[in-house]
Symmetry: C2
Subunit: 415 residues, 2 copies
Amino acid sequence: MRRGTSRDIRTANRYEVLRQIIAESPTSRQELAAATGLSLATVATLVGELLDLGMLTEVGFEDSAGGRPRGLVAVDAAGGALIGVDIAETYVRVELFDLALNVLARADEDMRPGESGPQQVVGHVAAAVGSVVAQAGVEDARVLGVGVSVPGQVDRDTGVAEYAPNWDWHDVPLLDLLAEHIAYPLHLDNPLRACAVAELWFGAARGRGDAVVVNLGTGVGAGLALGGGLHRGVSNSAGEWGHTTLVLDGRPCHCGNHGCVETYVGAPGIMLNLRELSPGSTLLHPEDQTATIDALAAGVAAGDPVAVEVVRDTARYLGAGISDLVNLLNPEVVVLSSWVAAALGEPLLRAVREAVARHALRRPLAATEIVLSPIPTDPVCLGAATFALEGALQSAGRRPTGRTAAARSRTAPPV
Amino acid sequence: MRRGTSRDIRTANRYEVLRQIIAESPTSRQELAAATGLSLATVATLVGELLDLGMLTEVGFEDSAGGRPRGLVAVDAAGGALIGVDIAETYVRVELFDLALNVLARADEDMRPGESGPQQVVGHVAAAVGSVVAQAGVEDARVLGVGVSVPGQVDRDTGVAEYAPNWDWHDVPLLDLLAEHIAYPLHLDNPLRACAVAELWFGAARGRGDAVVVNLGTGVGAGLALGGGLHRGVSNSAGEWGHTTLVLDGRPCHCGNHGCVETYVGAPGIMLNLRELSPGSTLLHPEDQTATIDALAAGVAAGDPVAVEVVRDTARYLGAGISDLVNLLNPEVVVLSSWVAAALGEPLLRAVREAVARHALRRPLAATEIVLSPIPTDPVCLGAATFALEGALQSAGRRPTGRTAAARSRTAPPV
């Protein structure tokens, strides 16, 4: 059990109530109390705050078997807009959501190799944010915030991208750069925590005690949702499972270490698995991770023995690495997320389950389910938007915008 | 942030207040509120409960700079006794503590190889528990509980030792067997969680956000103290870091896997490191782990190059494994605990710090301190006794003994 301050607890309870209302609208305060385990009085207070914020709306009454009719509330989808930004190695994707987390608009910007300087990336993000706001026709005042996911290690409090290995970024003040173009409250974090928070609010980790969200993309990480909240660690860098050792003195990793999980199961690692197995394979698109992973997926579907073998190899590494998470953390669910997991899908899942069953200890294995992410859209955009939603909920009862955002709004015009 | 039920939160706050009083007695309710961040009203309620339980005593007043004199409270050391049982591979150690967690009596029983059947172990434990109660001259009614640590995987709720690899125990109903001889409330868990809770209450993890307690003995594990509480996982088996992969396809492990951390840094693994480096070394006592580790410690102190090299080798493995914990969990402190860490001491610590600095990512590395456990007595006994203390605190405000213990007290005579 974690002890938090009373304000932490109030914020966490506010998350829990809104999460439940988003999942089941309309609903009554009584149902919310039953579903969350909170007292009716606490639920009534929290619902009152969410109504005041314009996030909920009263939608009538239901009979209660002879008692007084119960008031029903639902998310006011039009009560605000949230923007999620997924800055990936090869593209920037921006989605604008309503408060029920439906996607209202999307903008994609490709980034070619060599276009990954901070100012270039900021330009892409600003253009795409402007585009989704214009497409959706949302008033500036209704945009509650923008969550931004950038790979690597991130200081949330200062908005600095401390280290993005694939671009060799060091200490880039990304939020300050973005604030010159974007006037909405900004929230920075990284894809592994974005995927984890998306699963926690809307996916396979919702309502589960302890969950690990394994993020399989170019980079690899494990978002830790422990006890119903994100485990961030003492300096917001928890989850760097991609940089844990799987093979001591194994493949060199860009982090400076050897044998990291990421070097075997990240997209470039999978390409290396393919190259080692079948050097001249036509499945390999040397400069294109996405094309290679898609070719492997198609190959597996068609029964191509090389593709099948590469997925089996990759699953063997993944199985060993996921068993480490199962043995160490004893989670209720392990979720495979991000684009590599989505592309390789069920065949990868089956092979991973078999490999974990060979590696993990009996007791934690019996308690763990391994699933593919059920989130149908880009989980990083959804998670980034959720950071903006959490930011808006944290400031409930205080001034409508947070310190940083308020300071930035005074100096920067809206996009 | 973890959300708990209001009862979880009340129990956690009760722990926090008592922990603070044990650390600083006498103290006032006002100082406790300042130290814990709880409101004065909450502290006053919790102190009242602890006074009612006879765990605290009022010890006078202090001036408060012109205000009303403040009442002072202290732990009532004689308010109860707690017993901690450390069932290890080669011995059973039992300690009896007062409520300030001072050791009042100790009993050790050696177990020879072949004496590790459940009934033999239970006999040793019962004899030693009887011995410490007699030595300390404590009335039965003052013994608040007995915490029992047994290696391996443990079901706390049912009191079953599910799997103790070194003895090949499977599903041994240890608490039921013990209850035939011991009439006090019994609490079962394993050494890695006992060491973690000892550090959390009385050691290097006290007051730290996130801590990892690395347990180096015959077996190896990592107790996870996250957000001020023990992370147990969904089926109380979290912390099996000894069975995470360090060398894929490496040394065979008794868990059935290969290349587990434990096979390189557990006492038998260290003996293997020595044997591989210097097959005929006189440092090696083939059938005696303790003697070998002690010989290595003495060898390092005397500058024996083989001993120095074995500790360096072991630290290299340990450093890679601890870096995994640092990168994954981003803890504030990593504590090296248990008898191997105590025996190899500062030279091991220095070598581990160097190895972690080579392996870990910059951001989490900068946030982490690595220390030896400051607990001067057997941390497993202390932690086991702490489980008994937590059990007594959980039942505060309810019937004085828990369900299981109450049921057992009716059928079994006191020792």
